[in-house]
């Protein structure tokens, strides 16, 4: 009844009316403003800091340094290696050093501008290849952050059996999340003396734990609430404003607000990892892939952030959604004094998709096989063995996504000179790689007979609020007006994990279903399904204590073998195929994306309209990745020079759903958040090859680069 329906987003009305309180909108009586003093150097010792200038600004109340931190001055999702405030040394441009707190924003920023910092500069390590070989240590542990291996079969044997071998190196660069709302939040001390943070975030329980460590307080003394959040894409997984706000509120006992300017966000936020991918593919003359060898190296910046996860996920997904008997992948991330790279929509997989899809088109061309046919021939399906040796036992609708687009592909026709079509495919493991990533959810029958969903899953624009409510409504069989949503408060919810890795529909969805089944059993016994009202049941039972039901789901996965990367890294995978039509203008190198056909195996489409929204957004972001987005450290400062697509760059998008239901998911659902993006850039690149006859090995393929490739082709014939 509620599954597969285009229920209106529960947050639509207040966002349309402008009444939603985003983090930037938060205000409190007597609130102060904080801003951060950041490093101007990529690598330096802090030789001297003079704060008198800041204190000379009337209204500046306090300049906070690492010395004011009562607890641990480090945080990190995977390794606790990043300082909240630098102590002796800074390792990237934009690293926080001090917090300046003033009566208002102007005063705080003026104060921050008047702090004087003397740097003792150290040689900066900016080249990841040099970082690995060099002796200049950025962090004591050495300059290799992560090294992951994947070994399946015997690649040398696989190449020996092949009739064609294609080898190329693919390069990608830093990408900013470019969420609409920059990092912002408010911190205060409540009546009970607890520290409360409301912020723009993708996770609340993780941040509560980090703040507890920072302040050396028990977690119960910290409360984190998610404000309405204007986008995340992985950029609000790491601690951003939360630590500074907690520290400021703790020290001054007054509400403190902060918001990053766009320039500050560009400077300080994590980026998509620039990867260099050496990719070799072997295939038999009939099109069967015999071997894939991939060597991935990347720049991760000075701190770990989500580097380990990106490193591993890139290796695990190296072959793309194809069954290859012999696979060898090495994935290494090096520490540098560049920007901190971290989580960004896809954790390394969009970069790999660019490589494996380009490779496949070249293999197909060499063998004279249609690009669609070679994908169908090698595509993962039920019973296939993935690169990590996992047998896909259910929900593997990849070939069906290809078949959905087959009529359009076969009927494609170049409308004019410069028209071209390309395919891009992907698979993506839902949830974190090879580690436990559980979610909990609470469902309560509360006052007035209302069913309340308490969830810690952060709604970041992706639609989780609506999807989780649909799961609840379907499970209980109640009306929309019977349920209330209580989301994103560590005081009222249990840990649902982060809104990342395309996991909330699948993991939190299942936890909500489990909790709702508990309530359903109670309602059934109490006669709800025979006509008794929720109010009646509530009034009759409330004296026995809160009617609260706990749901829990941890996707069944195993860790991966360190030496071979073999194992079951994910419980389930999403699959997708995008077909893109472009028009390339030979005179200028301009590439316009005209039409995208997107087919996704989502297990079960809980809210098809929401999925379409996610896919249109992913298409836009993928066009940016393919054609224009490029963060250049030291140069890119704002949207003035960092181009993301506008509505004028958007093609027509047709969405097709494949529903190969996932038995462990809620009503068969998987996820679509990152899959929406991952194949898009790859399909644009393949369409450019079809349109202009040039191969693109470096992104973004902006007008200059594309024109250059076409000029070179003209010169060499």
């Amino acid at each position: 009844m509620f599954i597969g329906r285009d229920l209106d987003r529960v947050d639509a009305l207040e966002k349309v009316l402008g009444t939603a309180e985003f983090a930037h909108d938060l205000r409190m009586e007597g609130m102060l403003f904080a801003c951060v003093v950041r490093s101007a150097k990529p690598h330096a010792l802090l030789a001297g800091i003079e704060v008198q200038g800041a204190y000379a600004v009337p209204g500046v109340l306090r300049v906070v340094s690492y010395k004011d931190i009562p607890g641990q001055n480090t945080y990190g999702a995977l390794r606790k290696d990043q300082p909240f405030l630098a102590s002796q040394r800074v390792r990237y441009v934009g690293e926080p050093i001090l917090i300046v707190i003033g009566e208002n924003e102007a005063v705080a920023r003026e104060g921050a501008a008047r702090v004087r910092i003397d740097y003792g500069e150290i040689d900066a390590v900016l080249d990841p290849a040099g970082s690995g070989k060099g002796h200049a240590l950025i962090v004591d542990a050495g300059n290799v952050l992560a090294y992951k291996k994947l070994r399946k079969g015997d690649v040398e044997k696989g190449f020996a059996e092949s009739d064609v071998v294609v080898a190329h190196t693919y390069e990608t660069t830093w990408i900013d999340h470019a969420f609409l709302e920059t990092e912002a939040g408010i911190g205060y001390v409540d009546e009970g003396g607890r520290i409360v943070i409301r912020s723009s975030t993708q996770n609340i329980h993780y941040k509560r734990a980090e703040i507890a460590r920072l302040l050396a307080m028990p977690e119960e003394r910290i409360r984190v609430i998610q404000a309405t959040t204007g986008g995340g894409f992985g950029g609000k997984l790491d601690v951003t404003v939360e630590g500074f706000l907690a520290l400021a509120a703790y020290l001054l006992k007054r509400p403190v607000f902060m918001r990053y300017t766009r320039e500050e966000s560009f400077l300080s936020n994590t980026k998509r990892h620039p990867l260099s991918i050496e990719y070799t593919t072997g295939a038999r003359s009939d099109g069967v892939l015999t071997a894939v060898k991939v060597n991935i190296t990347g720049d991760t910046g000075p701190y770990a952030s989500y580097g380990d996860a990106v490193c591993l996920r890139a290796a695990v997904h190296a072959t793309g959604p194809y069954e290859v008997a012999n696979v060898w992948a090495d994935s290494k991330l090096f520490t540098t004094n560049g920007p901190v790279s971290g989580a960004m929509r896809g954790f390394g997989v969009p970069q790999l998709a660019f490589a494996h899809e380009s490779q496949l088109d070249e293999v197909a061309a060499l063998l004279g096989i249609d690009p669609l046919d070679i994908r169908i021939k090698n595509g993962l399906k039920r019973g296939s063995i993935t690169a990590t040796g996992q047998v896909l036992s259910a929900s593997a609708g990849f070939v069906e996504t290809l078949k959905k687009l087959e009529p359009f592909w076969r009927a494609r026709k170049k409308r004019k000179a410069g028209s071209g079509f390309g395919l891009g495919c992907m698979y993506y493991g839902i949830g974190n790689t090879g580690v436990a990533n559980p979610a909990r959810a609470l469902v309560e029958l509360g006052e007035g007979g209302k069913v309340i969903l308490h969830t810690g899953a952060c709604e970041i624009g992706q639609g989780s609020d609506t999807v989780l409510l649909q799961v609840l409504l379907e499970t209980l069989g109640t009306a929309r007006s019977d349920v209330l949503l209580d989301r994103g408060d560590t005081d009222t919810s249990k840990d649902a994990g982060s809104s990342s890795a395309s996991r909330q529909t699948y993991v939190s969805g299942k936890a909500v279903q489990e909790a709702a089944l508990g309530l359903r059993t109670l309602l059934d016994k109490a006669g709800y399904y025979r006509g008794r009202s929720l109010v009646d049941i509530y009034c009759a039972m409330k004296d026995g204590g809160r009617l609260l039901f706990d749901g829990f789901f941890n996707p069944p996965a195993t860790g991966l073998d360190e030496a071979t990367g073999q194992g079951v890294p994910y419980a389930t995978y999403a699959f997708a195929t995008h077909m893109t039509e472009v028009e390339v203008e030979e005179s200028t190198g301009a590439c316009r994306v005209k039409h995208v056909y997107a087919a996704h195996d989502v297990g079960k489409g809980i809210n098809p309209k929401g999925i379409r929204g996610q896919i249109c957004g992913g298409v836009a972001m993928g066009i940016g990745l393919a054609l224009m987005e490029e963060f250049i450290p030291g140069k890119t400062a704002s949207f003035d020079t960092y181009y993301i697509p506008t509505s004028m760059d958007m093609p027509r998008v047709d969405v097709f759903l494949v529903e190969d239901e996932e038995p462990t998911g809620p009503f068969g659902a998987k996820g679509v958040g990152e899959p929406a993006l991952i194949p898009q850039a790859a399909s644009v690149v393949n369409a450019i090859r079809d349109a202009a006859g040039v191969a693109v090995y470096e992104l973004p393929c902006h007008v200059e680069r594309l024109k250059g490739l076409m000029e070179k082709k003209k010169m060499t014939g």
Binding site: S587, T588, A590, T646, H702, K707
Partner: protein, 282 residues
């Protein structure tokens, strides 16, 4: 955040001119799409005189083959103005491509010219139309050709007490006219390169050729020698190729060799070959 300043809202041209004459350290706000960005980055002015309320500065009139466009006319207005679209199509097209809708609704022609960015969209079409700017101050009025007025990148001959009140444009009837800009995305982008042109021919013989190249040399320019070379000649491939070569030589003569020319020169070449060869270029 903006630095502090005193705000003066001029209600008419006289008030604007007298404010500008009497106030020291005043900047003119003619839309603000450049001024406010610079002030946001720290540029300071004691006074900001807003011309937005001065009706006399906005609007388009036509008489005797001349179009007079008020300095305060927004890009958005120019882009949709029927007379401009008919008699000065390249300018209408250029104005329709400036920035975003919001920028086009705020930014003005006068502001665009006085800012004199090498990438300003309006300059190349106005050069094609031999535009003349009118500058007024309390001391009187003077006129100057646009090509003289733009003295260098972000530099003009405007005086401290002067306002660019209007632009006079020669209307061109019977010309094939157009504007093309290249940027990294379809809209809301700075031009990497722009080209305006107005061509007239009789029986395949060029009777007039006007070309302006923007975002390439320090200031947008007209390759006069190539234009003169083409007049009287037939629209033939070798002729056009020779003219294009002259344009490229002229660019290199003006600007030397820049890294960006690896991209820009082949694009100028291909666009001009298409335009002069009679092909579509959009």
């Amino acid at each position: 955040m903006l630095p502090q300043f005193s705000y003066v809202a001029a209600r008419n041209k006289q008030e604007a001119l007298s404010s500008l004459a009497s106030l020291t350290g005043a900047a003119l706000l003619a839309g603000g799409t450049d001024l406010l960005v610079r002030m946001q980055k720290g540029e300071t002015h004691r006074y900001v005189i807003d011309l937005g309320g001065v009706a006399e500065l906005a609007g388009v009139t036509e008489e005797d083959g001349t179009l007079r466009i008020g300095g305060g006319t927004t890009h958005g207005r120019i882009a949709i103005h029927p007379t401009v679209r008919r008699t000065c199509a390249s300018l209408a097209s250029a104005c329709s491509l400036v920035g975003s809708p919001q920028i086009r609704n705020m930014g003005t022609l006068g502001g665009n010219l006085v800012n004199a960015s090498p990438a300003a969209d309006s300059i190349a079409p106005l050069l094609v139309h031999d535009a003349v700017v009118t500058l007024e101050s309390m001391d009187g009025e003077r006129a100057e050709t646009l090509s003289r007025f733009i003295a260098g990148p972000y530099r003009t001959t405007i005086g401290n007490r002067e306002i660019l009140t209007s632009v006079k444009v020669e209307t061109l009837d019977g010309y094939h006219e157009g504007y093309r800009r290249i940027a990294r995305r379809a809209g809301w982008a700075i031009s990497r390169l722009s080209l305006a042109w107005a061509l007239r021919d009789a029986d395949g013989i060029f009777t007039d050729v006007r070309i302006a190249v923007g975002s390439c040399t320090p200031v947008p320019f007209r390759p006069r020698s190539a234009e003169a070379f083409l007049i009287g000649k037939g629209r033939k491939k070798p002729v056009v190729e020779e003219a294009v070569k002259m344009v490229l030589d002229e660019i290199r003569r003006i600007a030397g060799m820049r890294p960006s020319f690896a991209y820009k020169l082949p694009v100028v070449r291909d666009l001009l070959l298409s335009v002069l060869g009679g092909g579509a270029c959009s």
